[in-house]
C-alpha cells in the first residue's frame, strides 16, 4: 500500500478531511478548531477548506455543545466534537453519559448517535493536576460508548476514519505528546476495524499490554528491554472498548506472563479490566500474577521531580517484567 511519512497530528487531520470530503453531514465543532486551527493544530486548514458552517468555533460551553452534537446526530448529522482536552469533558459528562450513551437504547433503537468526541487525553508536560486526567476507564464503563486510543499515526488515521463512519458515540482519545510523532501512514482510503488489538512487537518472554503513549514509550525502549534480557511481546489494544481480549490471551498462553502498563490511575483503571479478563481467559496458563504499572495514586503534581515520580516509565515496566519472570 502506498504510504507517507506523517505525524499523528497530520494523520488525524487527514482522516477528518477525507471523511468530510466524502460525507457532507460530517462536521467538526469545538473550541478554537476553526480560525485558530485547533489548540494543537489538529484541524489545521480545515476552516479554510470547509467553511465556518462545517468547522465550528464554539464558546466555552462543553456540556452545551456536546449535547448539541447529540441532537444533531439524532437528526441526521455526523458531528465530530473536539474537546480541547478531555479534562474539559468532565464538564460535559452528563451529556456524554446520560444522552450520547443511552439515547439509542432508551428510544428503543430509534435514534442512533453517530458522533465522535475527540481530543487529547492523559498527562502532557507539566500541566498539573486539573489538566492531566486519564479518563478512558470512565467512558469505557458505560455501555453505549466506544473508546478508541491509537498510539501510531497509521492507527490514528485508520481508526478515526472508521469511527466517523460508525453509527455510535465514540470517545476517541488522542495524546498531546504523540501529536508530533511521525510514522508511515497509508495514503487515501484506509480503514481499521474498531475492536482489533495489535501485536506491536513479537517476543517470547512476557506479554506487555499498553495503550496510547505508554505503548509508544515501550515500543521505543526495545533496546533497554533487550539489555535487561527481556524479549517482550508488546500489544496495543488500540480500542479500549470494545476490548479485543483474544489477541492478548493468545499471547499470554504463549508467554505465560502478563504486565499491563497504563498512564492512568490504578483503582478500577482500564488495566484492572484487562487483568480480570486475562486471569479469566488464561488462569491455568499464567505462571505469575499479572503485574500492573500505573500512575501513582495522587493528582499529578507540577514539580518536575514529583511529576516524573508519578508517571510510569520504562524502568518500572522492566521491573514489572522481571517480577513476573521471577528475576527480580
Amino acid at each position: 500500500m502506498d504510504t507517507q511519512l506523517i505525524t499523528m497530528r497530520e494523520a488525524l487531520n487527514q482522516a477528518m478531511v477525507e471523511e468530510m470530503e466524502r460525507d457532507s453531514t460530517v462536521f467538526l465543532m469545538g473550541e478554537e478548531v476553526g480560525a485558530y486551527n485547533g489548540a494543537y493544530k489538529v484541524s489545521q486548514g480545515m476552516l479554510e477548506r470547509f467553511g465556518p458552517l462545517r468547522v465550528v468555533d464554539t464558546p466555552i460551553s462543553e456540556n452545551g455543545f456536546a449535547g448539541l452534537a447529540v441532537g444533531a446526530a439524532m437528526t441526521g448529522l455526523r458531528p465530530i466534537v473536539e474537546f480541547m482536552s478531555f479534562n474539559f469533558a468532565l464538564v460535559a459528562m452528563d451529556q456524554i453519559v446520560s444522552n450520547a450513551a443511552k439515547t439509542l437504547y432508551m428510544s428503543g433503537g430509534q435514534f442512533p448517535i453517530p458522533m465522535v468526541m475527540r481530543g487529547p487525553g492523559g498527562p502532557a508536560a507539566r500541566v498539573s493536576a486539573q489538566h492531566s486526567n486519564s479518563l478512558e476507564s470512565l467512558f469505557a464503563y458505560f455501555p453505549g460508548l466506544m473508546v478508541v486510543m491509537p498510539s501510531t499515526p497509521a492507527d490514528a488515521k485508520g481508526l478515526l476514519k472508521t469511527a466517523i463512519r460508525n453509527d455510535n458515540p465514540i470517545v476517541f482519545i488522542e495524546n498531546e505528546l504523540l501529536y508530533g510523532v511521525a510514522g508511515d501512514v497509508p495514503k487515501g482510503e484506509f480503514l481499521l476495524p474498531i475492536g482489533s488489538a495489535e501485536v506491536k512487537r513479537e517476543g517470547r518472554d512476557v506479554t506487555v499490554v499498553a495503550h496510547s503513549r505508554m505503548n509508544h514509550m515501550l515500543r521505543s525502549a526495545e533496546a533497554e528491554f533487550l539489555k535487561a534480557g527481556i524479549d517482550l511481546e508488546l500489544i496495543d489494544p488500540r480500542t479500549i472498548k470494545p476490548l479485543y481480549i483474544e489477541t492478548i490471551a493468545r499471547s499470554v498462553r504463549k508467554t505465560h506472563r502478563a504486565v499491563i502498563v497504563e498512564e492512568g490511575h490504578r483503582f478500577a483503571g482500564v488495566g484492572a479490566e484487562i487483568a480480570d479478563r486475562v486471569y479469566t481467559a488464561c488462569f491455568d496458563d499464567l505462571d505469575a500474577p499479572v503485574v500492573r504499572v500505573t500512575a501513582t495514586e495522587n493528582p499529578l503534581p507540577y514539580a518536575k521531580n514529583l511529576e516524573a515520580a508519578s508517571l510510569p516509565d520504562v524502568a518500572q515496566a522492566i521491573q514489572a517484567c522481571k517480577a513476573v519472570l521471577y528475576r527480580a
Partner: protein, 354 residues
C-alpha cells in the same frame, strides 16, 4: 452562629397569576384572530386533544395504582393548553424535545395513546419499545427527541436540532420545552447563548408551573419574570398565559412564522400550573388547597369548552359525546397496551450499539 435567617424568601401563599377566563364576549383581537384562522374543525380537534391528554393522565393514575405502570410518573394535568397550543402551531417536520413530563407533549405531537400507554406498561409496542418508560417517550416518525430525565438535559439536544436546520438550510424550527426548575441549570444558559450567537431557530419554552418538585419558583430563581433573562442574551422574550390555548397558539404561531423567514431563538415563558403533585408519589402538600383551587377555576380545558359552547361550535351534548369517545379511545389504548407483549428477552442486549 448567626441567627438561622432564611437564605431564600420563605414559601408563603403565592400570589396566584391572573389568568382571565376565556369568554366569547371578552376575546382579545389576537384571540379572535386565532379563533377565525383555526375555525370550528381545528379548534374542536385541539379541544379533543386536551381532553385526550387529561383522560390519558387520569387513566395513568389508575393504571399506576393497579401496578401496570411503575417507576416515576409525572402527569401533565393542568398544562394541556400549553402542549396543545404550542405544538399545533408547529409543523410535523419541526423538532420537539422536552423533559420527563412528556405524556402530554407526545400526545399533542400525534404519538398514539396506544403507543404511549404501551410504553408505560413496558411493552414492545410502546413508543420506545418499552425500554424508556414514562420519562423517555421518543418518536422518530414525529420528530420527538424525547423525553429526558435529567433536568435541563434536553435543552442542548433540542438546540442540536435547531443547529441541524441551520446547517442544512431548511426552514424547520426546534421546540425546546423545559420546566421552571431547569432554568437554574447551566445548560439553559449555555444553550441560549449559543442559539443567540449563531441565530439558531430554537424556541425555548419554559413551562412555568410555579414549582420544581416542592420548591416554588421564588425559592429557586432570583427573578420572578423569567423573560428578564432574554435581554441578557440579546434575544426576544415573551410571556404567555399557559392556561389559555388561544394565547399559546397565537404566540407560538407568530414566533415560528418569523423564524421560518430568518432564524433566531426566542424565550417563551408560559405561566401554567400542574393540578397534581410533582410525580404520582408526591402528595403536593406544599401547596395550599385554595391555591390549587384558584388555578382549577381557570382549567384550560373548561375554558375552551365554554368558549366552544358560546361559539355554538360544540354544544353540551356534542361535548359529552366527544368526552365519551375519548374515554373509549383511552380504554382501547389500555387494552392495546395490555395485549402488547413484553419485549423479547433478547432485547436486553439490543440497541446498546447501532
Amino acid at each position: 452562629m448567626a441567627p438561622a435567617a432564611a437564605l431564600a424568601p420563605k414559601q408563603k401563599v403565592r400570589q396566584v397569576e391572573v389568568h382571565p377566563v376565556l369568554s366569547r364576549s371578552t376575546l382579545t383581537p389576537r384571540q379572535k384572530r386565532v379563533v377565525d384562522t383555526l375555525g370550528q374543525e381545528k379548534l374542536v380537534a385541539m379541544y379533543r386533544q386536551m381532553v385526550l391528554i387529561r383522560s390519558f393522565e387520569q387513566r395513568c393514575e389508575q393504571m399506576y395504582q393497579q401496578r401496570k405502570i411503575a417507576g416515576f410518573l409525572h402527569l401533565y394535568m393542568g398544562q394541556e393548553a400549553l402542549g396543545v397550543g404550542f405544538l399545533n402551531a408547529a409543523r410535523p417536520d419541526d423538532y420537539v424535545a422536552t423533559s420527563y413530563r412528556d405524556h402530554g407533549i407526545a400526545l399533542a405531537r400525534g404519538v398514539t395513546p396506544e403507543a404511549c400507554m404501551a410504553e408505560l406498561f413496558g411493552r414492545v409496542d410502546g413508543c420506545s419499545r418499552g425500554k424508556g418508560g414514562s420519562m423517555h417517550f421518543f418518536s422518530r416518525e414525529k420528530n420527538l427527541l424525547g423525553g429526558h430525565g435529567i433536568v435541563g438535559g434536553q435543552i442542548p439536544v433540542g438546540l442540536g436540532a435547531a443547529f441541524r436546520a441551520r446547517y442544512l438550510g431548511t426552514d424547520q424550527v426546534s421546540l425546546v420545552l423545559m420546566g421552571d426548575g431547569a432554568v437554574a441549570e447551566g445548560t439553559f444558559h449555555e444553550c441560549l447563548n449559543i442559539a443567540a450567537l449563531w441565530k439558531l431557530p430554537a424556541l425555548f419554552v419554559i413551562e412555568n408551573n410555579q414549582y420544581g418538585m416542592g420548591t416554588a419558583v421564588s425559592r429557586a430563581l432570583s427573578v420572578r419574570d423569567l423573560t428578564l433573562k432574554a435581554p441578557g442574551y440579546g434575544i426576544e422574550g415573551v410571556t404567555v398565559d399557559g392556561m389559555n390555548l388561544l394565547d399559546c397558539y397565537a404566540v407560538m404561531e407568530d414566533a415560528i412564522a418569523r423564524r421560518r423567514k430568518s432564524p433566531s431563538p426566542i424565550l417563551i415563558e408560559a405561566k401554567t400550573y400542574r393540578f397534581r403533585g410533582h410525580s404520582i408519589s408526591d402528595p403536593g402538600t406544599y401547596r395550599r388547597k385554595d391555591e390549587v383551587e384558584q388555578y382549577q377555576r381557570v382549567d384550560p380545558i373548561s375554558q375552551i369548552k365554554n368558549l366552544l359552547d358560546q361559539l355554538g361550535w360544540l354544544g353540551e351534548a356534542d361535548a359529552k359525546t366527544l368526552e365519551k369517545e375519548v374515554r373509549q379511545q383511552i380504554g382501547k389504548a389500555a387494552e392495546f397496551a395490555d395485549a402488547s407483549p413484553e419485549p423479547d428477552l433478547s432485547e436486553v442486549s439490543q440497541h446498546v450499539y447501532a
